[in-house]
Symmetry: C2
Subunit: 151 residues, 2 copies
DNA sequence: ATCTTTGCAAACTTTTTGCACCAAT
DNA sequence: ATTGGTGCAAAAAGTTTGCAAAGAT
């Protein structure tokens, strides 16, 4: 409710209109919290408003992204995932089983300062995924299907 | 020449066949060295072999990727970029001007060990991009077009 | 001779866009 | 009343696939 209100005010402040679809997308984002695809959001939203179209979801996400409320990441092949901007974590994605785990952004702060210091580059937390192999797949390595890899 | 030979032997060793197209793609990769799209490669290859089709490029890249010779990254929206695996660097991508800079992988080794230690996750170097704002855009910040953002 | 790779066209997946209508302010 | 948002259908953009023919071993 809290976070929704902020986003809604933000939208209004920029001349945006508050529609059922937008509220529902926002609500879905707040609830889902992390790595949902546009399609995921659509499915959630359509439970309440079946007539909402995927293009509306994309356009809403676009609008929210321009306001800085939402961000998205390309975890690999396929769909992008969206989330509210202040979920401070990074994603580690297993290239064997495609699992996604969240790790605290603190692990990345040193990298962040190094990039800033040495390259003048201001790294954006939360906007990329680290690819590799997860604990489980490493253990079973070889025995398991490299299946639908994420890269 | 060197690196091409290694890749070629690798291909042969796995029952692969050495074709004009494959040699040309490999050559293009060796020459281009970094962040080329499948289409870039196609253009290069077609200078020598105009009949080569984009699907051949993709299939060649797939094959090379399975051998560990090639890797690809999704730098953001749009096309993936491919490169030979032993270019030990990471990419930092500016979300304002879309410029790509390479930084030595050493900056990432600590993160790598942390992820291994704390999460059992074996991070793959070279397979993701760090998004943020480059020095120049930070300086001009606001004054410049956020143009074709990479995210 | 065998089995892989190729070119082509067509399918597929994800995202974007044009347009006429609808709805929020 | 005005302007921005929506649904739809169709296009785009990037990549993958089925197939018959060509090519590498």
């Amino acid at each position: 409710m809290e976070r929704m209100q902020i986003a809604i005010e933000n939208l209004k402040a920029h001349g945006g209109r508050i529609t059922h679809a937008r509220k529902a997308v926002l609500q879905a984002l707040v609830t889902a919290k992390t790595h949902v695809t546009a399609e995921d959001l659509l499915n959630i939203v359509q439970k309440q408003f079946p007539e909402v179209h995927i293009s509306t979801v994309y356009r809403t996400l676009d609008a929210l992204e321009k306001l800085g409320v939402v961000d998205h990441v390309h975890l690999g092949h396929g769909k992008a995932v969206y989330h509210l901007t202040d979920n401070s974590h990074q994603h580690i994605v297993c290239e064997m089983c495609s699992s996604v785990e969240e790790v605290p952004y603190q692990l990345f702060t040193e990298l962040q300062s190094n990039l800033k210091e040495k390259y003048g580059f201001q790294m954006r937390m939360n906007h990329f995924a680290v690819i590799g192999k997860c604990r489980r797949c490493l253990k079973e390595s070889g025995s398991t299907r490299p299946s639908s890899s994420t890269h």
